[in-house]
Symmetry: C2
Subunit: 165 residues, 2 copies
Amino acid sequence: MINIRPMQDSDWKGVWQIIEPVFRQGETYPIFTDITEQGAYAYWVTHPSKTYVAVNESGTIMGSYYLKPNQTGPAAHVCNCGYIVGEDCQGKGIAKQMCQHSQDEAVKDGFLAMQYNLVISTNKVAVRLWQSQGFKLIGTLPGAFKHPRLGFVDAHIMYKKLQSH
Amino acid sequence: MINIRPMQDSDWKGVWQIIEPVFRQGETYPIFTDITEQGAYAYWVTHPSKTYVAVNESGTIMGSYYLKPNQTGPAAHVCNCGYIVGEDCQGKGIAKQMCQHSQDEAVKDGFLAMQYNLVISTNKVAVRLWQSQGFKLIGTLPGAFKHPRLGFVDAHIMYKKLQSH
Protein backbone atom coordinates (compact mmCIF):
# COMPACT_ATOMS: atom_id res chain seq x y z
CA MET A 1 0.00 0.00 0.00
CA ILE A 2 1.25 3.41 -1.01
CA ASN A 3 0.12 6.56 0.73
CA ILE A 4 0.56 9.88 -1.06
CA ARG A 5 0.66 12.98 1.14
CA PRO A 6 2.12 16.51 1.17
CA MET A 7 5.88 16.57 1.74
CA GLN A 8 7.01 17.76 5.17
CA ASP A 9 10.36 19.36 5.91
CA SER A 10 11.56 16.19 7.59
CA ASP A 11 10.91 14.24 4.35
CA TRP A 12 13.53 16.12 2.35
CA LYS A 13 16.40 13.75 3.16
CA GLY A 14 14.37 10.83 1.80
CA VAL A 15 13.20 12.80 -1.24
CA TRP A 16 16.75 13.88 -2.07
CA GLN A 17 17.87 10.25 -1.85
CA ILE A 18 15.52 9.26 -4.65
CA ILE A 19 15.72 12.36 -6.86
CA GLU A 20 19.49 12.89 -6.68
CA PRO A 21 20.39 9.79 -8.77
CA VAL A 22 17.84 10.82 -11.40
CA PHE A 23 19.20 14.38 -11.60
CA ARG A 24 22.81 13.11 -11.71
CA GLN A 25 21.96 10.68 -14.50
CA GLY A 26 20.63 13.55 -16.64
CA GLU A 27 18.38 11.45 -18.84
CA THR A 28 14.96 12.88 -18.05
CA TYR A 29 15.03 16.36 -16.49
CA PRO A 30 16.28 19.67 -17.95
CA ILE A 31 18.61 20.18 -14.99
CA PHE A 32 22.37 20.45 -14.85
CA THR A 33 23.65 17.09 -13.61
CA ASP A 34 25.93 18.81 -11.08
CA ILE A 35 23.00 20.59 -9.40
CA THR A 36 23.60 21.13 -5.68
CA GLU A 37 21.26 19.77 -3.01
CA GLN A 38 20.23 23.39 -2.37
CA GLY A 39 19.47 23.91 -6.06
CA ALA A 40 17.50 20.69 -6.19
CA TYR A 41 15.48 21.78 -3.15
CA ALA A 42 14.64 25.06 -4.89
CA TYR A 43 13.63 23.23 -8.07
CA TRP A 44 11.59 20.50 -6.41
CA VAL A 45 10.16 22.23 -3.33
CA THR A 46 10.54 26.02 -3.25
CA HIS A 47 9.51 26.98 -6.79
CA PRO A 48 6.54 24.62 -7.17
CA SER A 49 3.28 25.36 -5.36
CA LYS A 50 3.19 21.94 -3.73
CA THR A 51 5.34 18.85 -3.33
CA TYR A 52 4.07 15.41 -2.38
CA VAL A 53 5.66 12.14 -1.31
CA ALA A 54 4.58 8.55 -1.89
CA VAL A 55 5.40 6.44 1.17
CA ASN A 56 5.03 2.74 1.84
CA GLU A 57 3.54 1.12 4.95
CA SER A 58 6.74 1.57 6.95
CA GLY A 59 6.93 5.24 6.01
CA THR A 60 9.79 4.93 3.52
CA ILE A 61 9.67 7.46 0.70
CA MET A 62 9.23 5.64 -2.61
CA GLY A 63 8.46 8.59 -4.87
CA SER A 64 7.77 12.30 -5.01
CA TYR A 65 6.13 14.82 -7.30
CA TYR A 66 5.68 18.56 -7.56
CA LEU A 67 2.73 20.58 -8.82
CA LYS A 68 2.87 24.17 -10.09
CA PRO A 69 1.27 26.52 -12.60
CA ASN A 70 3.03 26.07 -15.94
CA GLN A 71 2.68 29.76 -16.76
CA THR A 72 1.12 32.82 -15.12
CA GLY A 73 -1.68 35.22 -16.02
CA PRO A 74 -4.01 34.10 -18.84
CA ALA A 75 -2.27 30.71 -18.95
CA ALA A 76 -2.19 30.07 -15.19
CA HIS A 77 -5.05 27.56 -15.43
CA VAL A 78 -2.62 25.00 -16.90
CA CYS A 79 -0.43 23.23 -14.36
CA ASN A 80 2.77 21.26 -14.66
CA CYS A 81 4.06 18.31 -12.62
CA GLY A 82 7.29 16.38 -12.31
CA TYR A 83 7.38 12.85 -10.88
CA ILE A 84 10.25 10.70 -9.69
CA VAL A 85 10.11 7.15 -8.39
CA GLY A 86 13.04 5.71 -6.44
CA GLU A 87 15.29 3.40 -8.46
CA ASP A 88 14.49 0.46 -6.20
CA CYS A 89 10.73 1.16 -6.28
CA GLN A 90 10.10 0.86 -10.02
CA GLY A 91 7.39 -1.40 -11.43
CA LYS A 92 4.99 -1.04 -8.52
CA GLY A 93 2.65 1.44 -10.20
CA ILE A 94 3.83 4.33 -8.04
CA ALA A 95 4.23 6.78 -10.94
CA LYS A 96 0.71 5.97 -12.10
CA GLN A 97 -0.68 6.52 -8.61
CA MET A 98 1.19 9.83 -8.30
CA CYS A 99 -0.08 10.92 -11.72
CA GLN A 100 -3.68 10.18 -10.71
CA HIS A 101 -3.18 11.88 -7.33
CA SER A 102 -1.70 14.95 -8.99
CA GLN A 103 -4.69 15.27 -11.33
CA ASP A 104 -7.07 15.15 -8.36
CA GLU A 105 -5.02 17.76 -6.49
CA ALA A 106 -4.79 19.96 -9.60
CA VAL A 107 -8.58 19.91 -10.01
CA LYS A 108 -9.03 20.76 -6.30
CA ASP A 109 -6.69 23.71 -6.83
CA GLY A 110 -8.78 24.90 -9.77
CA PHE A 111 -6.44 23.96 -12.61
CA LEU A 112 -8.21 23.10 -15.86
CA ALA A 113 -5.40 21.28 -17.66
CA MET A 114 -1.99 19.70 -17.09
CA GLN A 115 1.02 20.05 -19.38
CA TYR A 116 4.32 18.19 -19.52
CA ASN A 117 6.78 20.41 -21.35
CA LEU A 118 9.60 18.00 -22.04
CA VAL A 119 8.93 14.28 -21.99
CA ILE A 120 12.14 12.80 -23.32
CA SER A 121 11.33 10.53 -26.25
CA THR A 122 13.74 7.84 -25.07
CA ASN A 123 11.82 7.60 -21.78
CA LYS A 124 9.30 5.29 -23.42
CA VAL A 125 7.87 3.97 -20.16
CA ALA A 126 6.87 7.51 -19.21
CA VAL A 127 5.40 8.31 -22.64
CA ARG A 128 3.25 5.19 -22.54
CA LEU A 129 2.20 5.80 -18.94
CA TRP A 130 1.10 9.38 -19.56
CA GLN A 131 -0.80 8.29 -22.66
CA SER A 132 -2.57 5.60 -20.63
CA GLN A 133 -3.56 8.35 -18.19
CA GLY A 134 -5.24 10.33 -20.96
CA PHE A 135 -2.43 12.70 -21.86
CA LYS A 136 -2.22 13.57 -25.54
CA LEU A 137 1.04 13.85 -27.40
CA ILE A 138 0.72 17.43 -28.64
CA GLY A 139 3.95 17.59 -30.56
CA THR A 140 7.61 16.62 -30.68
CA LEU A 141 10.58 18.98 -30.41
CA PRO A 142 13.40 17.63 -32.62
CA GLY A 143 16.71 17.27 -30.81
CA ALA A 144 15.54 19.37 -27.86
CA PHE A 145 17.32 17.26 -25.23
CA LYS A 146 20.96 16.20 -25.03
CA HIS A 147 20.95 12.70 -23.64
CA PRO A 148 24.21 11.79 -21.84
CA ARG A 149 24.58 8.51 -23.77
CA LEU A 150 22.46 8.94 -26.89
CA GLY A 151 23.23 12.55 -27.81
CA PHE A 152 20.48 14.85 -29.06
CA VAL A 153 17.08 13.21 -28.79
CA ASP A 154 13.52 14.43 -29.34
CA ALA A 155 11.23 15.60 -26.57
CA HIS A 156 7.44 15.47 -26.47
CA ILE A 157 4.93 17.97 -25.18
CA MET A 158 2.01 16.19 -23.54
CA TYR A 159 -1.24 17.71 -22.33
CA LYS A 160 -4.53 16.72 -20.72
CA LYS A 161 -7.66 18.74 -20.13
CA LEU A 162 -8.71 18.05 -16.54
CA GLN A 163 -11.95 20.01 -16.65
CA SER A 164 -13.90 21.24 -19.66
CA HIS A 165 -13.24 24.84 -20.59
CA MET B 1 15.90 52.33 -41.22
CA ILE B 2 15.71 50.31 -38.04
CA ASN B 3 18.74 49.62 -35.89
CA ILE B 4 18.65 46.73 -33.44
CA ARG B 5 21.05 46.92 -30.51
CA PRO B 6 21.37 45.72 -26.89
CA MET B 7 19.07 47.56 -24.50
CA GLN B 8 20.74 50.04 -22.18
CA ASP B 9 19.41 51.08 -18.77
CA SER B 10 18.36 54.43 -20.18
CA ASP B 11 16.16 52.65 -22.76
CA TRP B 12 13.81 51.14 -20.16
CA LYS B 13 11.36 54.04 -20.13
CA GLY B 14 10.88 53.70 -23.90
CA VAL B 15 10.66 49.91 -23.71
CA TRP B 16 8.07 50.07 -20.93
CA GLN B 17 6.01 52.49 -23.04
CA ILE B 18 5.65 49.94 -25.80
CA ILE B 19 5.38 46.73 -23.76
CA GLU B 20 2.99 48.04 -21.06
CA PRO B 21 -0.05 48.32 -23.39
CA VAL B 22 0.58 44.79 -24.66
CA PHE B 23 0.85 43.37 -21.15
CA ARG B 24 -2.26 45.32 -20.00
CA GLN B 25 -4.22 44.03 -23.00
CA GLY B 26 -3.46 40.44 -22.02
CA GLU B 27 -3.98 38.92 -25.45
CA THR B 28 -0.54 37.52 -26.22
CA TYR B 29 1.66 37.00 -23.13
CA PRO B 30 1.16 34.67 -20.14
CA ILE B 31 1.46 37.58 -17.73
CA PHE B 32 -1.03 38.97 -15.24
CA THR B 33 -2.45 42.13 -16.83
CA ASP B 34 -1.93 44.08 -13.60
CA ILE B 35 1.82 43.38 -13.59
CA THR B 36 3.81 46.21 -12.02
CA GLU B 37 6.53 48.07 -13.89
CA GLN B 38 9.02 46.36 -11.56
CA GLY B 39 7.54 42.95 -12.39
CA ALA B 40 7.66 43.73 -16.10
CA TYR B 41 11.32 44.76 -15.81
CA ALA B 42 12.12 41.45 -14.12
CA TYR B 43 10.25 39.52 -16.82
CA TRP B 44 11.66 41.41 -19.80
CA VAL B 45 15.16 42.39 -18.64
CA THR B 46 16.37 40.67 -15.46
CA HIS B 47 15.37 37.06 -16.10
CA PRO B 48 16.36 36.82 -19.77
CA SER B 49 20.03 36.61 -20.74
CA LYS B 50 19.77 39.57 -23.09
CA THR B 51 17.30 42.27 -24.12
CA TYR B 52 17.45 44.26 -27.35
CA VAL B 53 15.73 47.35 -28.72
CA ALA B 54 14.79 48.30 -32.27
CA VAL B 55 15.24 52.05 -32.75
CA ASN B 56 14.46 54.30 -35.70
CA GLU B 57 16.77 56.96 -37.17
CA SER B 58 15.86 59.50 -34.49
CA GLY B 59 16.55 56.99 -31.73
CA THR B 60 12.92 56.31 -30.81
CA ILE B 61 12.30 52.79 -29.52
CA MET B 62 9.95 50.97 -31.90
CA GLY B 63 10.28 47.44 -30.57
CA SER B 64 12.09 45.20 -28.13
CA TYR B 65 12.86 41.52 -27.63
CA TYR B 66 14.44 39.27 -25.05
CA LEU B 67 16.55 36.14 -25.51
CA LYS B 68 17.06 33.40 -22.92
CA PRO B 69 17.59 29.66 -22.58
CA ASN B 70 14.19 27.96 -22.61
CA GLN B 71 15.36 25.34 -20.13
CA THR B 72 18.60 24.45 -18.33
CA GLY B 73 20.95 21.48 -18.34
CA PRO B 74 20.51 18.99 -21.18
CA ALA B 75 17.93 21.29 -22.81
CA ALA B 76 19.86 24.55 -22.45
CA HIS B 77 20.78 24.55 -26.15
CA VAL B 78 17.22 25.63 -27.01
CA CYS B 79 16.50 29.32 -26.52
CA ASN B 80 13.31 31.31 -26.22
CA CYS B 81 12.49 34.86 -27.31
CA GLY B 82 9.66 37.30 -26.81
CA TYR B 83 9.10 40.22 -29.21
CA ILE B 84 6.95 43.32 -28.88
CA VAL B 85 6.48 46.08 -31.45
CA GLY B 86 5.01 49.41 -30.40
CA GLU B 87 1.33 49.87 -31.27
CA ASP B 88 2.13 52.81 -33.56
CA CYS B 89 5.02 50.96 -35.26
CA GLN B 90 3.13 47.96 -36.67
CA GLY B 91 3.36 46.99 -40.33
CA LYS B 92 6.93 48.15 -40.86
CA GLY B 93 8.53 44.71 -40.70
CA ILE B 94 10.07 45.37 -37.30
CA ALA B 95 8.98 42.05 -35.78
CA LYS B 96 10.48 40.22 -38.77
CA GLN B 97 13.76 42.12 -38.40
CA MET B 98 13.87 41.42 -34.66
CA CYS B 99 13.15 37.72 -35.29
CA GLN B 100 16.02 37.50 -37.80
CA HIS B 101 18.33 39.45 -35.47
CA SER B 102 17.44 37.17 -32.56
CA GLN B 103 18.31 34.07 -34.58
CA ASP B 104 21.72 35.53 -35.45
CA GLU B 105 22.35 36.44 -31.81
CA ALA B 106 21.20 33.02 -30.65
CA VAL B 107 23.61 31.28 -33.01
CA LYS B 108 26.45 33.55 -31.83
CA ASP B 109 25.60 32.54 -28.26
CA GLY B 110 25.79 28.86 -29.21
CA PHE B 111 22.10 28.03 -29.16
CA LEU B 112 21.09 25.28 -31.56
CA ALA B 113 17.33 25.86 -31.71
CA MET B 114 14.66 28.40 -30.77
CA GLN B 115 11.30 27.59 -29.22
CA TYR B 116 8.15 29.67 -28.73
CA ASN B 117 6.17 28.05 -25.93
CA LEU B 118 2.84 29.81 -26.27
CA VAL B 119 1.95 31.48 -29.57
CA ILE B 120 -1.68 32.42 -29.08
CA SER B 121 -3.73 30.98 -31.96
CA THR B 122 -5.75 34.17 -32.34
CA ASN B 123 -2.53 36.11 -32.97
CA LYS B 124 -2.59 35.07 -36.62
CA VAL B 125 -0.14 37.71 -37.78
CA ALA B 126 2.48 36.28 -35.43
CA VAL B 127 1.79 32.66 -36.40
CA ARG B 128 2.19 33.50 -40.10
CA LEU B 129 5.29 35.58 -39.48
CA TRP B 130 7.07 32.88 -37.48
CA GLN B 131 6.17 30.30 -40.12
CA SER B 132 7.61 32.57 -42.83
CA GLN B 133 10.80 32.68 -40.75
CA GLY B 134 11.11 28.91 -40.82
CA PHE B 135 9.47 28.07 -37.50
CA LYS B 136 7.48 24.85 -37.50
CA LEU B 137 4.15 24.50 -35.74
CA ILE B 138 5.01 21.61 -33.43
CA GLY B 139 1.63 21.28 -31.77
CA THR B 140 -1.40 23.06 -30.40
CA LEU B 141 -2.45 23.21 -26.74
CA PRO B 142 -6.27 23.25 -26.59
CA GLY B 143 -7.69 26.09 -24.51
CA ALA B 144 -4.32 26.86 -22.94
CA PHE B 145 -4.81 30.64 -22.94
CA LYS B 146 -7.67 32.71 -21.55
CA HIS B 147 -8.17 35.56 -23.98
CA PRO B 148 -9.76 38.64 -22.37
CA ARG B 149 -12.41 38.95 -25.10
CA LEU B 150 -12.59 35.51 -26.70
CA GLY B 151 -12.33 33.27 -23.64
CA PHE B 152 -10.26 30.09 -23.76
CA VAL B 153 -8.29 29.84 -27.00
CA ASP B 154 -5.64 27.44 -28.29
CA ALA B 155 -1.92 28.14 -28.15
CA HIS B 156 0.79 26.84 -30.47
CA ILE B 157 4.29 25.63 -29.74
CA MET B 158 6.66 26.69 -32.52
CA TYR B 159 10.25 25.62 -33.02
CA LYS B 160 13.17 26.12 -35.38
CA LYS B 161 16.51 24.38 -35.55
CA LEU B 162 19.13 27.11 -35.96
CA GLN B 163 22.10 24.80 -36.38
CA SER B 164 22.17 21.12 -37.23
CA HIS B 165 22.50 18.82 -34.24
